[in-house]
């Protein structure tokens, strides 16, 4: 446990130092991994801890991105625009979508969350004021007290700070009494109900927390790219996060971050050689599901003899 914490700290310092050590391309890659790591962790809260396989998580990612883009462009380049408003919007949407979706489970839950996110996609795709299929370009980065986020190393640390915040908060949530309840729901929902737990309320709370953090990740994505497009809302965005969680190891938080690194690293590595990199990715995913269903982190633990 202590050595794991040391390892994480060393990794953190290494990631923080990247802009001073390597070129701009790997730094960009690292930032993308951090952002998608946040997104994947937020999905892991639902998938790995509360047993909710949501195919609609992109709705909150994209919503956070659009709200940040609108607020940063049109209102003020502040932290309120970059963080508070996207998080609040995603939380509100999570409350509505979650409230309606949690009434069903299994395949119906998957279908319902998928349908909701596709509605968000269609709405953005058809809205002229949101730039329709092009989305919103020219998203400025916020101005923080004396910090110039257009400088690579400052922006890097800014994203890393959000990542650490999300990781620490989620790690706290899953270990809290609330997190224990979620574990119980994941293990045996029917028994939890019979014991007197209002299971739907716990699931809804987890859904809203997950949506909120996904919204923050989406906002960072918009700031990172300088634009947001309907693609962020499309179901494949949920699918990619799902792959990251599965490849990395659901129910571990750290696993999905590894999954994001593997996914994005592999993508950048392979896509320069072959157009069919998704095929290879798919094969890797199938391999994981069949032979290492506990994911990268589980593999590592198995190797360590734990």
């Amino acid at each position: 446990m202590r050595s794991a914490r040391r390892l994480a700290l060393a990794g953190l310092v290494a990631v923080a130092a990247l802009p001073w050590l390597v070129g701009s391309y790997p730094v960009k890659l690292a930032q993308e991994i951090l952002i998608w790591g946040i997104f994947a962790m937020s999905l892991d809260l639902l998938m790995g801890y509360a047993g909710m396989l949501s195919f609609g998580h992109s709705a909150f990612f994209g919503l956070g991105g659009y709200v940040a883009a609108l607020a940063l462009r049109g209102w003020s380049p502040s932290l309120v625009s970059a963080l508070v408003l996207p998080a609040a919007a995603a939380a509100a949407a999570g409350l509505v979508v979650g409230f309606l979706s949690i009434r069903v489970s299994g395949v119906y839950f998957i279908m319902l969350t998928l349908a909701f996110s596709q509605m968000f996609y269609a709405a953005a795709f058809n809205a002229e004021w949101l730039g329709a299929s092009d989305g919103l370009p020219g998203v400025p980065r916020p101005r923080l007290i004396g910090l110039d986020l257009d400088r690579t190393e400052v922006f890097h640390l800014y994203i890393l700070a959000f990542f650490v915040l999300a990781l620490v908060a989620l790690a706290r949530v899953v270990r809290s009494p609330f997190g224990r309840v979620l574990r119980g729901v994941e293990d045996n929902e029917r028994r939890m109900v019979a014991l007197g737990y209002a299971v739907r309320r716990f699931k809804l709370a987890a859904f809203v927390v997950g949506a909120t953090i996904a919204g923050v990740a989406g906002s960072l994505e918009a700031q990172f790219n300088g634009y947001i497009s309907p693609e962020a809302l499309f179901w494949t965005t949920s699918g990619e996060a799902l792959l990251m969680v599965s490849i990395g190891g659901a129910g571990t938080l750290a696993g999905p971050v590894l999954g994001a690194a593997a996914f994005i690293g592999l993508q950048s590595l392979l896509s320069s050689y072959t157009e069919h990199w998704t095929l290879i990715l798919g094969a890797a995913f199938i391999g994981f599901v069949l032979w290492a269903p506990e994911g990268l982190l589980g593999l590592a633990r198995r190797e360590a003899g734990g």
């Binding site: 224990r180 574990r183 119980g184 028994r191 007197g196």
Partner: protein, 251 residues
């Protein structure tokens, strides 16, 4: 005479054309230990499902402590003080025995919604958990995953989970199902040692257990109450012999 703690009014439950339960009325006094016996398919488990709200009655209703509970969702029924065990062990397989008991003990706790509260200490250090674990003979097994316990221990855990919510009414569905004679003996002792404040309804096939533990016995047959009374009287009832005791009813 005081009002009964549990009152079932003409409970009926149909599955398609089959009436699994057909107009069952039942009254159980506080502190009573009532055995429910009857052949397989008699509707015993269905009766429990109707009491706990896991099934809704086709007709009739259930009163608990003077108030109607039919129509409440199962978690709300549980919060009123009714707890049950299952015929087939229904624990949290991937959690430790201690964590199983703690989840049960913590149902309804305010802190369950404190998302950022500090992680609680290990379940095995909780006094409530230790007490229940001791009562069901699992004191030394708290750190074992529920799915790894022996069959007998899993049945003890099943009882412990039901007990840990501190119910006023405890519904036990065949607590000795699948147990060896030695394990059954042990379970009988555990049940006999339960505090009297906990009113018990026990579905059981083991006649020794029934006659050792029960104050009264209700016999279900084809979804109806065939007989009800003191254990000795029920044992002597020829109709009961015919449908159950006589025909080697230990199925």
């Amino acid at each position: 005479m005081s009002d009964p703690l549990l009152r079932c009014h003409a409970l009926t439950r149909r599955f398609g054309a089959l009436a699994a339960l057909n107009g069952v009325s039942l009254e159980v006094e506080a502190r009573e230990r009532r055995a429910i016996i009857g052949p397989n398919g008699a509707g015993k488990t269905t009766l429990f499902d109707l009491i706990t709200g896991e099934l809704t009655p086709s007709a009739g209703h259930v009163e608990f402590a003077g108030r109607t509970i039919s129509g409440l969702p199962p978690h709300a029924v549980a919060r009123r003080g009714i707890s049950r065990s299952y015929q087939r062990t229904n624990a949290f397989r991937h959690l430790t025995a201690g964590e199983n008991l703690r989840l049960a003990a913590a149902a309804g706790a305010r802190e369950n919604f404190r998302l950022l509260a500090a992680p609680p200490p290990p379940a095995s250090t909780s006094a409530a958990v230790r007490e229940v674990a001791h009562a069901v003979g699992l004191g030394a097994r708290l750190d074992i995953l529920a799915g790894r316990l022996s069959h007998g221990e899993q049945r003890q855990l099943e009882l412990g989970i039901a007990l840990a919510t501190r119910p006023r009414l405890l519904l036990l569905d065949e607590p000795t199902a699948g147990m060896s004679p030695a394990e059954t003996q042990r379970m009988v002792r555990l049940l006999a040692a339960l505090p009297r404040e906990v009113t018990c309804l026990i579905i059981e096939h083991d006649m020794d257990l029934v006659f050792t533990l029960a104050d009264r016995v209700s016999v279900l047959h084809h979804g109806e109450v065939l007989a009800e009374g003191l254990p000795a009287a029920v044992r002597g009832d020829p109709r009961v012999h015919e449908v159950y005791l006589g025909s080697g009813g230990e199925a």
